[in-house]
Amino acid sequence: MSDHNGSSAPVWPVLRQFAKGDLFALDGSTAGSSRTESLASRTKTADRVVGSVCPYCAVGCGQLVYVKDEKIIDIEGDPASPVSNGCLCPKGAATFQLVTGSHRVSDVLYRRPHGTEWEKIPLEQAMDMVAERVKRTRDENWEDRDKDGNPLRRTMAIAHLGGATLDNEENYLIKKLFTNLGIVQVENQARI
């Protein structure tokens, strides 16, 4: 690349390479330009850096999340982590796209029985509807005792799946709430 917008006199890198005897531009300084010198990584401009952990596999590589103007501008491996020493694999390195990408849906959607399309509905309304269905299903399908009179205190009509990608605190509240509703079919990917 030639150096068009530098303030100093443009010197072609190739001339510098000759001048410094660095024919193959192995030394960065000969290949550089005043423009490249003025550049900085976008992480330098972040308002804050937040400690995080890779959300993919269970190795638990350290991540640093760079935030500017309340938006994530980059996610990098955390060099201080004894788990990963700053490394991320292809998936971990794609975390930035995972969390900021346009694929993410940000509306609550509802498909009515026999419906052919999604409908947008407000979050609060959807929460009310789900709570109402949990209550109705639980009330209509309550098992108090088995045929021998042993206590069951449960409903087998509601089940849950998921947890291996969630936080411990989330799993804790899931288990606590659902157990106390009498839902025993609480499961996730971890079966061994």
Partner: protein
């Protein structure tokens, strides 16, 4: 792991593999599936360690290993059993370790019969119940009780009520010569697992097998250690638990447990999959591996505590953990008088695990379903049956980043595309809630090495996206309100009394994750001060603790999981980075890193030792032992609970403090791993008349048909599934990302040039792969990385299938899991997806991707179900093995 050592977690961490002298990676493609952890294996190699990769495929892990050992999928126990035999026959075991730290000297009861005696079945098979009665497996003159750790199998439908006597061998023989001691039983059990048998079972040439066995033996003893690394290539079998048990036996014989560079490294596949077992979103457990109450047995708190409190070993502390949990859940409503509200807990009447739920769903018994961060329509076995289940629901809640297949099963699925099912006919009401990413919420993941690491909220979630924490919290608040007028009914009291008062923070008024962590850690009730660890917990209601094994993660009010002290400022165990359960111990059972007298086995392998002057255990790691209990301590006869742990008992969670080479109680399918063929195999079991694991769970239904046990002419090839570096499980976190999708854009199958030749398949062109469950179309990748194995002179072909794709996302392809049937391990109900049979032909000939849920796919052959089991095992009661009585009569193939 739990039954062998006491805790169901990896015993070490990937970073410690640098200290290994030999590393066997088996059932895992670590370089591609856990690339960053694999750096430690590479560093070990640079230091001179021997790296061995045992896998059906030659992968990037194999490429950098010293030795790649191709193996027939599903035959690992024969291979590992061969190594056990080699160690014993050549007297290569670490005798001082074996005699002192394992149950090898224990003498077993006279009624025990081995699989060698009964053609592949252990004593105690109950023909009427279709399962084992395990009493005969016990130590001589001792009544059974379970090991700590995996307590899934005890005191319920699957096991027997338990006697409460200390389970410590009454009789031992430290010379290991007694014919009924564990060591001699082990020797006999594996006596036929010769290198020749390994060759004809696994397809591994004798010289390769001997190289592996020799490398392991050479690198053990006082000065050297070896490690085993596995992933779901081991677990997802009908004998999955016994695969890991085989490695446990090898590691105990070689003296590799609890030592630097030793241990068994379980590589988990999700960010918090270990966490979701510790704080379980699992039906059979409460937090910290406390069992869910069983309807028949655990009628009241006193009975429940009696059945679950071990008279010896650490599980003697059980009541403290249980009562503290009840106190955390019910607060002031839990009192001594009302048994801390134990009677609020629902009870179990059988196996309520995922596959049973799906079958119940397909049969209309389940009405409502929550799916949070999983994609079962793609990720679980027999995808068509999963989707059939979803169609029978009244309502479904899916929480994810985008519209995954599970959310859109009603309009975008193979059976819809084919016209078998019409969208308008599906009654299910579906709610999709967008989830918040880990960068949009506070919380902790527990990684593969039991480490809790905190991630901080960086930004607020967009739009209606919310965390699961927020969703569940607000759902709970609404239900408390909805039931407010119905608290006259006793069944609603748990909702009323459940503590649910987490501080609400931030603009979205989300519950404070740190407050939840505080409850998980535990606190003294009087002042709500966090407890220092589980040693502080009481059984008198004065402490509350949500998950005892995590106790200490918030000690002193400090979030220990958020610690991020750079690794270069501490030793290689990095004790001040985050927090590891239990008690920040990085290598479990590390008392075994010292000899019986408390001195390190060698300078090179020192970790924890007894400090004679201070009279306490000390060292590089937190001692996984009672700190002040010296090596010479011997308990009195009257001792109970943790007081029974002697100075030479490194496995403190076990009732006898020993590593269990032989699992006297706690497993459904036998005290010693035995080679059984997969449910669908290409070979007759070369060792026993009993073909498959007699205890395996089957679902015999029309929509879940099985192939013939072996030599099925319709399905001559072995199939195994796996992951790629660039995709994540069922694709929910990768198929929608362009960065990852363009790296792995399309579904394919990996086959050998020989198979390509045999079936006329061409690289880059299409193939159709069939099982009785379904059919898929994939691109063909012909590669020497797949090599046919020669077994008894016959060439055996294996097909490799990644399982990431489905009908949605940026890149699409058929879902490998649609091929796989429901069949599972009896101990933990995990599916068998790593070895099954199928057929492959060139071209796109699937007729629209048919599935068994819509009718039969191939012509019927006479049933050979009887070939899977010996006659006495073959008779199975109808309600057994997961299937439903009403389906069994007509459901058979």
């Amino acid at each position: 792991m739990g039954t062998s050592f006491g805790r169901g977690g990896a015993t070490t961490f990937p970073g410690d593999l640098v200290n290994s002298d030999v590393i066997v990676i088996e059932g895992s493609n670590m370089a591609e599936c856990h690339p960053v952890a694999f750096r430690w294996v590479m560093q070990a190699r640079e230091r001179g360690a021997t790296i061995i990769h045992v896998d059906p495929r030659f992968t990037r892990t194999s490429a950098v290993a010293n030795l790649h050992v191709p193996i027939r999928a599903g035959s690992d126990i024969a291979f590992l059993g061969g190594i056990i035999r080699y160690i014993i026959e050549n007297e290569r075991y670490f005798k001082e370790y074996v005699v002192n730290y394992t149950n090898a000297p224990a003498i077993i009861g006279d009624d025990f019969k081995d699989t060698e005696d009964l053609d592949g079945v252990f004593s105690g098979w109950d023909k009427k119940k279709g399962k084992y009665e395990t009493r005969t497996w016990m130590y001589k003159d001792v009544d059974p009780e379970p090991a700590g750790g995996t307590r899934e199998s005890e005191a319920g439908e699957k096991g027997q009520p338990i006697q409460r006597n200390p389970i410590q061998a009454e009789h031992t023989d430290e010379t290991l010569q007694h014919p009924r001691c564990v060591f001699q039983i082990l020797k006999k059990h594996y006596s036929r697992y010769t290198p020749e048998l390994v060759e004809e079972t696994c397809g591994i040439p004798r010289y390769l097998f001997l190289k592996v066995a020799e490398a392991l033996c050479r690198n053990s003893g006082r000065e050297r250690t070896g490690a085993f690394v596995y992933a779901v290539g081991w677990t997802q079998h009908t004998v999955g638990v016994q695969y890991i048990r085989s490695a446990a036996i090898i590691q105990l014989l070689l003296g590799n447990m609890g030592r630097p560079g030793g241990g068994i490294m379980a590589l988990r596949g999700h960010a918090s999959i270990q966490g979701s077992t510790d704080i379980p979103t699992l039906y059979n457990l409460l937090p910290g591996y406390l069992p869910m109450p069983k309807a028949k047995h655990d009628k009241d708190l006193a009975t429940y505590l009696r059945l679950n409190t071990s008279p010896s070993g650490w599980w003697g502390e059980f009541p403290k953990y249980m009562i503290s949990m009840l106190k955390a859940w019910y607060g002031d409503a839990a009192t001594k008088e009302n048994d801390w509200r134990y009677d609020y807990l629902p009870t179990l009447t059988g196996d309520h695990s995922h596959m049973n739920t799906v079958v119940d769903m397909a049969d209309g018994a389940v009405k409502g379903y929550f799916v949070m961060g999983e994609n079962p329509a793609v990720g679980s076995m027999n995808g068509a049956l999963q989707r059939k289940g979803l169609r029978q629901l009244d309502w479904l809640v899916v929480r994810d980043f985008q519209l995954i297949e599970t959310a859109e099963f009603w309009r975008d699925a193979p059976e819809i595309a084919r016209g078998d099912v019409k969208t308008k006919d599906i009654k299910t009401e579906v709610f999709f809630f967008p989830g918040a990413a880990h960068t949009e919420k506070d919380g902790s993941f527990t990684n593969t090495q039991r480490m809790l690491q905190w991630h901080h909220k960086a930004v607020e979630p967009r739009g209606d996206s919310r965390s699961e924490l927020d969703f569940i919290f607000k759902l709970g608040q609404r239900l408390k309100e909805l039931y407010a007028n119905e608290y006259g009914q006793i069944r609603n009291w748990p909702i009323r009394d459940m503590t649910w008062d987490y501080p609400e923070i931030g603009p979205l008024k989300e519950p404070s994750a740190e407050a939840v962590l505080h409850e998980i850690n535990g606190y003294t009730v009087a002042d709500r001060k966090p407890v220092e660890g589980y040693s502080s917990l009481k059984d008198d209601g004065s402490t509350a603790c949500g998950c005892w094994i995590y106790s200490g993660c918030y000690r002193g009010g400090k979030n220990m999981t958020a610690r991020r002290k750079p690794y270069w400022e501490q030793n290689h165990l990095a004790p001040e980075w985050a927090w590891v359960w239990p008690h920040n111990r990085r290598i479990l059972y590390n008392r075994a890193s010292a000899d019986p007298n408390g001195a390190p086995w060698s300078e090179r392998k020192k970790l924890v030792w007894w400090d004679e002057q201070k009279q306490e255990w000390t060292g590089l790691d937190q001692p996984d032992f009672i700190v002040k209990r010296g090596p010479s301590h011997r308990p009195s006869k009257e001792a109970r609970g943790k007081e029974t742990i002697s100075g030479v008992d490194p496995f403190i969670m076990q009732a006898d403090g020993k590593g269990w080479i032989y699992v006297a109680t706690g497993l459904q399918d036998g005290p010693l791993p035995t080679h059984y063929e997969p449910q669908e195999s290409i070979a007759k079991n070369p060792l026993y008349g009993q073909q498959c694991n007699p205890e395996r769970m089957e679902w015999i239904r029309k929509d879940n048909p099985y192939h013939q046990p072996y030599d099925d002419p319709r399905f001559p090839y072995l199939i195994t599934t796996y992951r790629l570096t660039e995709h994540h499980t069922a694709g929910g976190m990768s198929r929608w990302l362009s960065w990852l999708s363009e790296l792995q854009p399309e579904m394919f199958c990996e086959i050998s040039p020989e198979l390509a030749e045999e079936r006329g398949l061409k690289n880059g062109e299409w193939a159709t792969i069939r099982t009785m469950r379904g059919e898929i179309e994939t691109r063909v990748l012909v590669t020497r990385r797949m090599q046919p194995l020669r077994i008894k002179g016959k060439l055996v072909h294996q097909i490799g299938l990644p399982y990431h794709w489905s009908t949605k996302g940026l890149v699409r392809g058929d879902a490998a899991n649609d091929l796989i049937g429901f069949v599972a391990d009896p101990n933990v109900s995990i599916q068998e997806s790593k070895a099954f049979t199928g057929n492959i032909e060139p071209g796109r000939k699937s007729k629209g991707r048919r599935h068994a849920t819509s009718g039969r796919l191939v012509k019927k052959l006479p049933s050979r179900e009887q070939d899977r089991d010996l006659p006495k095992v073959g008779h199975k009661p109808e309600s057994k093995h997961g299937y439903k009585a009403e389906q069994t009569k007509e459901g058979n193939i």
